[in-house]
């Protein structure tokens, strides 16, 4: 089947404003969803779910949230881990302190708490810009790290400061098996990805991007910088907070503040950049690149039966991974999502070179 737009005339603006205006794309995404929801659960192994797909989905969700802030609104954040942690610990408290709290409600409330903290630490963005803003978000990062370790109330006075949850269920269905966890994450991610996509393609999304590209000009055409920036912080930290809940509840089960350390913040930022700033799809590409690639690289020597020591393998993985980051940036500085769309553009022209 040739990948062509020709002949697909859009007769209404509604048709043109669809998320996937091209028929082939719609088919492809449908097939992808069918595979993700039906085929993968049938054939996937425990390892695939627990070690690869679940973390991938959750971190992709977090990256998606971060992408709204960094990619769409242009506000650099190194506090993603903090907002995840706020989501996770808040949801934990709702769950243990309120009897019969449903998981989904706890999750959304966790997200809301993250929103509040996100907006709070977003306020300096009205004055501080660019890399300098990183300080505000780093303050959030280290402050929450510290608070969750030191303030016993947050951890329900657990002696070590590590907490855990058990017996998760949604509408009475237990979220225990790998498949159930995977499907739950997948569903949440799909819903949020759709919501995020909707936001970025409507007025607020354009406001964010306008602020990102040129804030003075945006103000001149009537966009309130404060509103745009703070909504970006709010929406972003909400999604990130929900991702934090999933990470803690569904993926780890038991966690300590270190699960949301600065390393996590950096990791997510890198996902967003390598995946493609300002692209919902980019969050998924980025998460795949940063999470899945090292795992695969790690196993390559084994597949080929190359006898390498653990340390050597690990060093090589580091080097190859680093080199690949640079390589992909050279090929396409705007990230994998852009690479993808250029690929599609070429496909559209194919077999003619231009």
């Amino acid at each position: 089947m040739l990948y062509r737009e020709n002949g697909q005339f859009k007769t209404s603006y509604a048709a043109d404003q669809q998320i996937f205006p091209i028929l082939q794309d719609r088919v492809a995404i449908g097939v992808l969803l069918a595979i993700a929801f039906v085929v993968v659960p049938m054939f996937g192994s425990d390892y695939l779910f627990r070690a690869i797909l679940i973390p991938f989905l959750i971190l992709a969700l977090a990256a998606l949230g971060l992408n709204i802030l960094v990619g769409y609104c242009g506000q650099i954040s190194l506090g993603t881990g903090a907002f995840m942690a706020v989501g996770a610990y808040a949801a934990y408290n709702f769950l243990v302190r309120i009897d019969g709290m449903p998981l989904i409600a706890a999750m959304l409330l966790g997200g809301l708490c993250a929103t509040v903290i996100g907006v709070l630490f977003g306020i300096p963005s009205l004055r501080i810009k660019g890399l300098y803003l990183a300080v505000a978000t780093l303050a959030a990062q280290f402050f929450t790290d510290w608070a969750f370790l030191r303030i016993g109330w947050f951890t329900n006075n657990s002696t070590s400061g590590s907490v855990s949850v058990a017996g998760l269920n949604v509408f009475g269905l237990p979220i225990e098996s790998a498949v159930a966890k995977y499907l739950f994450c997948l569903a949440v991610v799909c819903v949020f990805a759709l919501g995020a996509k909707n936001l970025v393609r409507s007025a607020i999304g354009r406001q964010w991007m306008a602020i990102r590209d040129m804030d003075v000009a945006a103000a001149v055409i009537g966009i309130r910088p404060m509103y745009a920036k703070l909504t970006a912080f709010a929406v972003s930290s909400f999604i990130v907070g929900v991702a934090g809940v999933l990470w803690a509840f569904v993926h780890l089960g038991a966690w300590e503040p270190a699960a949301f350390s600065i390393d996590r913040s950096f990791q997510l930022l890198f996902m967003v950049i390598i995946g493609g700033l300002g692209s919902i799809m980019g969050a998924f590409f980025g998460a795949a690149f940063i999470i899945v690639l090292p795992i695969l690289l790690d196993q390559v020597p084994q597949w080929f039966g190359i006898p390498l020591s653990t340390a050597t393998t690990s060093h090589l993985v580091h080097m190859i991974f680093g080199a690949l980051i640079v390589f992909f940036l050279i090929v396409e500085p705007h990230g994998l999502a852009r690479l993808w769309s250029i690929g599609k553009q070429k496909l559209r022209l194919w077999p003619f070179p231009h």
């Binding site: 250029i342 070429k346 022209l349 231009h354």
Partner: protein
């Protein structure tokens, strides 16, 4: 043209941006030593791209020359770095000014002299530029970002002159300049051309002035050269008159009265 004193020879170049957008579709042009050559054409014709291809600044725009040759005095220069080209005397004034925002006007100018090592020469050049653009002298200590658009344009031109070039690629030098400064800029061009034998290749929208001051002109449309000739001949060509000079049979038409429907350009059939 006499190939013996050919300074720059661009031969059938194609340029592709981002691996997908073919923008120049075989552009050839020549600049003989000591001449002023103009590239004219509408928005998006490919003038800037041509200049970038010559000065090797395409890479940063993710563009590349995929076909054709570019020669400076018979030597291929596609592989040379932009700075090497400046060292050989080819300097470009970029479209849209591109002053160093955080540097003062004077620092901008001095940065332009990076390739010159002779202190005396640099000082002399600086004086020359200030003499050309007295406005810059009054603003010499302001950061470039806080000067007016026209001042920045002067700064960009002055900065290029600081490297004592043999050949200048001027991209829309008149943009944003007040009319009498435009005249002055072209007087400067003429002056340098005559006195110091500097060659110019200029991309310009202000066709009237450009043709008045240049020796030879190329007209680019859609990534192709559609017409070329001595400046005088071009200026008297009917099409050029209508589309680039805004003159019709009975002289200049008022901007208030332009028709809503216009004749199609002959070469766009």
């Amino acid at each position: 043209m006499n190939p013996a004193n050919l300074l720059l020879d661009v031969n059938g170049i194609e340029v592709i941006y981002n691996h997908v957008a073919l923008v120049l579709k075989g552009v050839s042009l020549q600049v003989p030593e000591g001449r002023i050559v103009a590239i004219l054409g509408g928005n998006g014709a490919g003038k800037t791209t041509t200049l970038r291809a010559i000065s090797n600044l395409l890479k940063g725009e993710r563009g590349e020359v995929t076909k054709g040759r570019i020669e400076l005095e018979g030597e291929r220069i596609e592989a040379l770095s932009p700075s090497e080209l400046v060292r050989r005397g080819v300097v470009q004034v970029m479209e849209g000014r591109h002053c160093f925002a955080h540097l003062t006007i004077e620092e901008n100018l001095l940065a332009g002299a990076y390739t010159r090592k002779d202190k005396g020469e640099i000082a002399a050049n600086l004086d020359k530029v200030y003499a050309y653009f007295p406005r810059l002298k009054t603003r010499r200590t302001s950061q470039a970002a806080y000067t007016s658009g026209g001042e920045q344009q002067m700064c960009a031109i002055g900065r290029a002159l600081m490297s004592s070039p043999r050949m200048v690629l001027l991209d829309e030098p008149s943009m944003g300049l007040a009319p009498q400064i435009v005249e002055e800029v072209f007087e400067i061009v003429k002056d340098l051309n005559v006195k110091e034998k500097v060659s110019f290749l200029l991309a310009e929208q202000n066709t009237m002035v450009a043709l008045r001051y240049s020796d030879f002109g190329y007209i680019v449309e859609n990534g192709r050269i559609v017409m070329e000739g001595e400046a005088r001949d071009l200026a008297s060509n009917e099409d050029v008159k209508e589309f680039y000079l805004g003159l019709s049979g009975e002289g200049r038409k008022s901007f208030r009265d332009v028709k809503h429907y216009r004749r199609r350009k002959r070469w766009l059939s």
